[in-house]
Symmetry: C2
Subunit: 103 residues, 2 copies
Amino acid sequence: RRSHMTVSFTDPQVSMDLLRAVLQPSFNNDIMAVFKKYQMFFEKAAQNVKENIGEDVQTDQLVKDACRNVLEHAKQLFPEGEVKRVGPEIAVKRYKPIDEEYG
Amino acid sequence: RRSHMTVSFTDPQVSMDLLRAVLQPSFNNDIMAVFKKYQMFFEKAAQNVKENIGEDVQTDQLVKDACRNVLEHAKQLFPEGEVKRVGPEIAVKRYKPIDEEYG
């Protein structure tokens, strides 16, 4: 039994990710609650897109894509140390006009 | 002016991502509030890792890595349509033992 514990806690990433996995369902609930606040906006936008473009637009997939993108961009709240892989720093990104990402 | 609008709303992804970018700062605030609830757990775990492994462990980076992983896994709340790229379905993943991801 002892050696099994040692294995788990030798790799920092594994050790932290075990905790992450334990907390994930609770996180997911809280994150879903956050998304519910904004869901209407995304659904309206997706509906607009559908009206402008046509019937073959899957609004629910557009909304889900947008939600995944929100989560991806939220990672910039927790930037990596030396190696900055997320592009321009958040502070600047946040306060620039919204078309910043289409330049 | 009209044509500029047409450009923005022709590509569904761009159109949706404009809204995403507008809402992102607000999302980030809400998501940070969620993470604050769990921060102590991650910090304790990172401290344990440091005690077990050694001085060269950067606890704050371990915590940030874990937080980014939470966001990555939360994407499974919004699965892609036909093409499932996130691995096994969430319902199963959630209720299996926590070592499920290390097999």
